[in-house]
């Protein structure tokens, strides 16, 4: 029992065959002939990691592109509506690309909040001036 394990062809496996079997993959991910056959044998691990990172990066880029396309479709959708009112215009395409870093996101959020505050201040100021409220300071001094 177990003899089939000892006599299996795996014990006579040729390393060279295995090397040739994997060789095209490493050529495809950018390794040279010399790097694969003559350089540090551990180099393949780093090429594999780099290949994985590249794939993730590509996936991220494609996802981002999909987001831009999706947003563009959403923005233009008001005019695509069959019963859209006359004069309906598409929403403008974003003025700048999405920021990809946390820092950029934070800065963008801060700028947007500042703009919103200024807008609110202007609206409130206009509303207050329309009310013609008495100057409470002067009233107090007059009394």
């Amino acid at each position: 029992m177990g003899g089939e394990l000892l006599n299996s062809s795996s014990s006579k496996v040729s390393y060279t065959e295995q090397f040739y079997e994997h060789f095209p993959f490493y050529l495809a991910i950018g390794m040279t002939y010399d790097q694969y056959w003559n350089d540090d044998c551990q180099l393949v691990k780093f090429y594999r990691k780099a290949h994985k990172l590249k794939n993730e990066q590509k996936n991220q880029e494609l996802w981002l592109q999909g987001m831009y396309i999706y947003e563009a479709l959403c923005n233009v959708s008001p005019v695509l509506h069959a019963f859209a009112k006359r004069g309906t215009r598409p929403l403008p395409y974003p003025e700048k690309p999405y920021s990809l870093t946390k820092e950029g996101n934070k800065q963008e959020k801060e700028i947007q909040e500042k703009i919103n505050r200024q807008k609110a201040k202007a609206v409130f100021g206009a509303w207050a001036s329309r009310l013609k409220l008495p100057n409470t300071e002067r009233q107090k001094s007059a009394n």
Partner: protein
């Protein structure tokens, strides 16, 4: 970095290492790793000589044999050479990703 063995003989520095090419050459010349168990007397010196192919291809066989005969702690040397010989093929195999079903193991030697 690949595993290697370094030593000095007759004032010359040697660095023993296996590359895929050196293993290919060894196998072409008839070296079979599994023969280590069945024919250790002929296979072990061949394994040692094969480790010269990567960086010292043109060193004569007599010098390699002389170095081998002078090497201390042969058992440890052979185990290290075997580890080095397997490295180029093991580097091609990915470690399984962290998962619950993975098996951890340990040896008593």
């Amino acid at each position: 970095m690949a595993k290697d063995i370094r030593f000095v003989h007759d004032g010359k520095e040697y660095r023993l290492e296996f590359t895929r090419k050196s293993i290919e050459i060894m196998e072409r010349q008839g070296f079979v790793a599994s023969d280590i168990v069945e024919k250790p007397m002929s296979t072990l010196p061949a394994l040692f000589a094969g480790a010269f192919l990567a960086h010292h291809r043109y060193v004569k066989k007599e010098i390699i044999d002389e170095i081998f005969s002078k090497m201390k702690n042969k058992q440890e040397l052979i185990s290290k050479l075997a580890e080095m010989y397997n490295e180029p093929i093991l580097a091609l195999v990915d470690e399984p990703e962290e998962a619950e079903g993975n098996i951890t193991w340990e040896a008593s030697f």
